[in-house]
């Protein structure tokens, strides 16, 4: 059983006011972030409120979904973006999906002393499924600002237009795992 007063000493509370950039507009957002100083293995608590609504992306989601569903062979790709920052139009949703999923990974592994950014997809392969979900096995690179490290991270991502994104499995890789 956790002692409430113990928790109060060991939690760092940030109140954030931020602006989200949507497709062609901005949306205000407030968030409360609690870092658990006592146990670094617990992800920070995040509560947020979006003031207003984000744009509807159903059309683009459904196009991407049908494109992948209609592939004869499972999708395989690497180095997105490439060294020069190019992303082909077909791969842009794959990149966005990785970016969103990596947000979960970053959140789960953040402390007050980390600052993660998504850097690159080293490779991605689609995993065949019998149900309606799309599944992708990604090896991505995260950039951690404070240490300046590039961290390979494997993540299994499920997605469906109506059910959103799920990271079902993820694991940090040793430094040379991506090569």
């Amino acid at each position: 059983m956790q002692n409430d007063s113990f928790n109060k000493i060991n939690v760092l509370h940030y109140h954030l006011e931020l602006v989200l950039e949507d497709i062609d507009s901005t949306v205000n957002c407030t968030a409360e972030v609690l870092y658990h100083l006592g146990n670094k293995n617990i992800a920070p608590d995040v509560q947020f409120t979006i003031e207003g609504e984000l744009k509807n992306t159903d059309e683009a989601d459904n196009i991407f979904y049908s494109q992948i569903k209609s592939l004869e062979k499972e999708l395989v790709a690497e180095n997105i973006p490439d060294s020069h920052g190019h992303v082909s139009p077909e791969m842009e949703p794959i990149r966005l999906l990785a970016w969103v999923a990596s947000g979960y990974v970053m959140w789960q592994n953040s402390t007050e002393n980390t600052k993660f950014q998504f850097a690159q997809i080293k490779h991605v392969k689609q995993v065949k499924r019998s149900d309606e979900y799309l599944e992708f096995d990604y090896m991505i690179l995260l950039h951690e600002m404070v240490s300046q490290e590039i961290i390979p991270w494997q993540m299994t991502v499920l997605w469906h237009p109506q059910h959103g994104v799920q990271v079902t499995q993820d694991s940090r890789q040793p430094k040379h795992a991506s090569e």
Partner: protein, 373 residues
């Protein structure tokens, strides 16, 4: 001519895919050839893999002795927008020095020294082997581990904070201050010229910052002298810290902030891009051994790190369509800083510097600052 700059990494690369190293060397040779009155290429030193480092000197022929603005790019290999900016900067100066009154004014008094890529070995490695490589390519532990972070290798509180002593780390500070030939070559050159260098600029990415000293503290190191400006008149000078009760002294770090804010505003005016301004230790993270801190510690009054676009959506791998806008807006910031320095040290146009005239101009500008703030 603009067709030299295909605006892909690095500038000057054609669709056929010239190797980046040839490309930047070829570009420098070509720049000197087509602007021989203004531009000379100079040897700086050799990298650990024995490649030659050159800097370009842009100097308007004159019988005056000039002061120096130094700008280096490519300390960190993966920050490709950085060498691209140095190339863009040189191109812009050479294209516009006759027509742009600001450029022609400051070239009367200032020489521009541009080092397009310091960490050549790392840069090539990031082209050929590992796009996200950061450090140089010095071998350690019998060749089982490579690379020192050159921006932790300078002799500014070296090895004290924000570093690793482990070669496998991206922020490995090396075996000692200036242990790396790249660091040593640049430091020795700047040390020799330091009494003439008014401004040290070092270009990095990403984050959209203009950073002032220091990485490990907000105050100058306790054992150093203090660089101050003068509220009424008199040039910037170094005084021993804690001595003198000169009410007119304005800490140089405050002047630096003031100028950096002007630069940031000028940058934002172009495409609305926001840059944060402040000391590394306050707005980023703690570090030691950076070139910018070292330059300031040896007495160079205006010392800045630029962290160019973006803020993390693409990070080091900035898309090609952002290269030119980034270069254009950054140009405005850098010329704002150079302008300010030119007008403070050489007021009243092409007039010989005297302490009286300098003081009057400094007095006016600083009085304006204090009333506005």
């Amino acid at each position: 001519s603009s067709c030299v700059f295909c605006l892909s990494y690095p500038l000057g690369m054609t669709a056929a895919g010239l190797r980046c190293r040839k490309s930047i060397y070829q570009w420098m040779t070509q720049i000197q050839k087509s602007n021989s009155k203004l531009v000379t290429q100079h040897y700086l030193g050799k990298t650990i893999e024995n490649r030659t480092m050159y800097y370009l000197q842009i100097s308007q022929p004159s019988d005056k002795t000039k002061k120096i603005i130094w700008m280096d790019c490519g300390i960190h290999a993966r920050e490709w927008i950085s060498p691209a900016f140095c190339q863009w900067f040189v191109k812009e100066i050479l294209q516009n020095y006759k027509s742009d009154p600001r450029i022609s004014r400051f070239l009367k008094n200032l020489d521009l020294y541009i080092l397009p890529v310091l960490n050549i070995d790392g840069y090539i490695y990031s082209w050929e082997k590992d796009r996200l490589w950061r450090k140089n390519r010095s071998p350690h532990m019998n060749g089982t581990c490579y690379g020192t972070d050159l921006n932790r290798n300078f002799n500014s509180s070296w090895g004290s904070i924000g570093v690793s002593y482990n070669c496998s780390s991206e922020i490995f500070c090396g075996s000692g201050p200036e242990s790396e030939p790249e660091t040593r070559a640049m430091a020795q050159f700047i040390e020799r010229k330091k009494s003439d260098i008014l401004c040290y600029l070092t270009i990095h990415s990403y984050g959209q910052y203009i950073l002032t000293p220091y990485g490990s503290t907000t105050k100058p190191p306790s054992n150093s002298e203090e660089l101050v400006g003068d509220k009424n008149f008199g040039p910037l000078k170094i005084i021993a810290k804690g001595t003198g009760t000169d009410d007119n002294a304005v800490p140089i770090l405050d002047l630096q902030m003031h100028v950096a804010k002007k630069a940031s505003a000028a940058l934002m005016g172009k495409y609305g891009t926001r840059y944060e301004v402040g000391s590394t230790s306050l707005i980023l993270y703690s570090n030691s051994g950076s070139s910018r801190d070292w330059a300031h510690m040896i007495g160079i009054p205006f010392s800045y790190t630029f962290e160019l676009r973006d803020k993390g959506s693409h990070g080091f791998v900035l898309p090609p369509d952002q290269i030119q806008p980034t270069c254009e807006e950054t140009m405005l910031a850098v010329t704002t800083i150079i302008d300010y320095i030119d007008q403070k040290y050489f007021p009243g146009g092409a007039v010989m510097l005297t302490s009286g005239s300098l003081g009057l101009s400094l007095c006016l500008s600083v009085v304006l600052t204090w009333t506005v703030s």
